[in-house]
């Protein structure tokens, strides 16, 4: 009986099912089958045996990953970079959005917004080229300026200490326009009566921003930040790879889980350890997303992810 009503539904919804087929096949193939492929992390992969035919080797891949000393370094780097990106990027985006809302005429606003948005449209490869142009030891603009001022040039590509600042700066630079638009949209949807009331109460412009604009942005800020926190163990591969590449001199400060996994897979062909590091990342990521979702549910049920 149950089965019959199931087939009845299949028939009833056949057009929808047909329309969903390409996407279902796509995600089965490229998302769900790779999830099953997690078993690679527990195997000694060989090409003859493939994913399911290779011999098991228990937790050896994980042990190797953790014993190598890389696990802690890449996990720490990934999390710390993301925390810095979240704080700096959101602060700058909110700052820019508030200013953009409060000052300037139509043309000024248009020009500024277009300028801020420009970096968002170029590829990380081009950003890498721009960085090289600025930071190169012999001919980079930064060092040309330093020499021009009679100062010592700095060897940026060989000095890990500069990179946390540079990467945070680049991330802020590329994401500024996009985030500013998001926050600007949130600010423009604030009820103007609140501003009028604040004005009547004698608030000056700074008080108005602190007491009206920013509190009204809290829901947006919290959601955007929490979404970003959920991805705290995912590195932006494009940025790290194009800014740093395979420059081993900088790994202590720049290696994140994603670049480590990529290198282990492609460069050193260490499939087992690479898979283990990937599983470690997925599990950490999943746990954070669940925690974040729980937090959002408690804060505002309607805004929870699921």
């Amino acid at each position: 009986m149950r089965l019959r009503s199931f087939w009845h539904d299949v028939k009833k919804y056949r057009m929808f099912l047909l329309m969903l087929t390409p996407a279902v096949v796509f995600y089965l193939l490229f998302a769900y089958i790779p999830m099953a492929g997690i078993v690679i992390a527990f195997k000694r992969y060989d090409y003859a045996g493939g994913i399911f035919g290779s011999a098991w080797n228990g937790l050896d891949n994980f042990r190797f990953f953790f014993d190598s000393g890389n696990a802690w370094q890449v996990t720490r780097n990934t999390a710390l970079y993301n925390v810095a990106f979240i704080v700096v990027n959101n602060a700058l985006q909110i700052f820019a959005a508030i200013l953009l809302f409060e000052v300037g005429g139509k043309w000024f606003r248009k020009i500024i917004q277009s300028s801020l948005f420009l970096p968002y449209f170029i590829s990380w490869v081009v950003v890498g080229a721009i960085a090289y142009n600025l930071l190169n030891y012999d001919i980079g603009t930064v060092n040309a300026m330093l020499r021009g001022l009679g100062m010592e040039p700095v060897d940026i590509y060989n000095t890990p200490a500069y990179w946390p600042f540079l990467l945070v700066l680049v991330s802020a630079w590329k994401g500024l326009g996009y985030g500013t638009v998001m926050y600007l949209a949130a600010i423009t949807s604030i009820d103007t009566e609140m501003y009028e009331a604040a004005e009547i109460d004698g608030a000056n412009i700074f008080q108005r921003i602190l007491k009206v604009t920013i509190p009204n942005l809290y829901p947006t800020i919290i959601i955007l930040v929490l979404l970003a926190v959920g991805n705290i163990f995912r590195g932006d591969f494009g940025m790290f790879y194009n800014m740093v590449g395979n420059n081993g001199m900088l790994f202590s400060a720049t290696d994140v889980i994603d670049t480590f996994v990529f290198r282990s897979l492609i460069t050193s062909n260490d499939i087992g350890m690479s898979a283990a590091a990937g599983v470690f990342q997925s599990v950490l990521g999943f746990a954070t997303i669940m925690a974040v979702n729980y937090a959002v549910r408690r804060y505002d049920k309607d805004r929870a992810l699921f």
Binding site: F16, A23, V103, I122, V181, A186, G285
Partner: protein, 310 residues
Amino acid sequence: MSATELNADKSFAKTSGVKKTDQKIFAAIGYGALTIMALLCLLPFLLVVSSSLTSENKIITAGYQFIPTDFSVEAYSILFKYPTEMIQAYLVTIGVTIGGTLLGLFLTSMTSYALSRRDFKWRNGFSFFFFFTTLFSGGLVPWYLLIVNYLHMKDTVLALIVPLVLNVFYIIVMKSFLGGIPEAIVESAKIDGAGDFRIYAQLILPLSKPALATIGLFLALAYWNDWYNALLFVSDEKLMPLQYYLYKMLGNMDGMRKAMMGAGAVVTTAIPTESLKMAMTVVATGPILLAYPFVQRYFVQGLTIGAVKG
């Protein structure tokens, strides 16, 4: 004019007539800070363009500069003298961008449409099936091995198109847009005897132009700027997309020399590698920058709609 700009004009500072001291101070900070931020966003582009137009000697002795003091178009003349590889890379990128964007739009809208129909009993189940893939993944390794060893997509154009063609985020955005279309439209079409696919193709698609434009732009930008899938899956030089070609050339001067010679250049003088790098960057970025003022407007509208809808 976008909704953002319209509403921004409601900003209270402009309606209150007389400017007070605090507003003057604020305006000074505001104009100053925004101008500095905008300049910081623009200047690196100026630097690249200017470097590409500076003679190699000047770059090597004085470094890259914001204003070309020793103007030279040598880099561009070399680039355009032997453009075979560059043109090939352009063709790959254009083809992949057009094909991928159209296919992506079709699949995204069709999927979202089925998920948006309230009379489809299993829509929540399917939505979760898609959404779950953003929460958990098998990681790079199984995905890579599947594509290379099992689907044999290495060095095929499929490897450049397929990985980016569907994106759960776009499905969700599209679904929430379609949710805003009145159900009565679908109902009346059904009474007129239209099938579900026909309703999608002839009624819903024309009504979702704004959403299609926004998602189409996101897709096109992702395809145009993609180099990652090429890094993983492409070793055949004929299949290199533009950004990956640029990546290879930037990192490998010998490769650049070889490419120039392979294209028929008789290398008698030294190739101006530094200015050539920057000229290549300009040429690879050019179309995006030209399309940018047009594209940006739609982007802002799309983002604004997305932000308001939550």
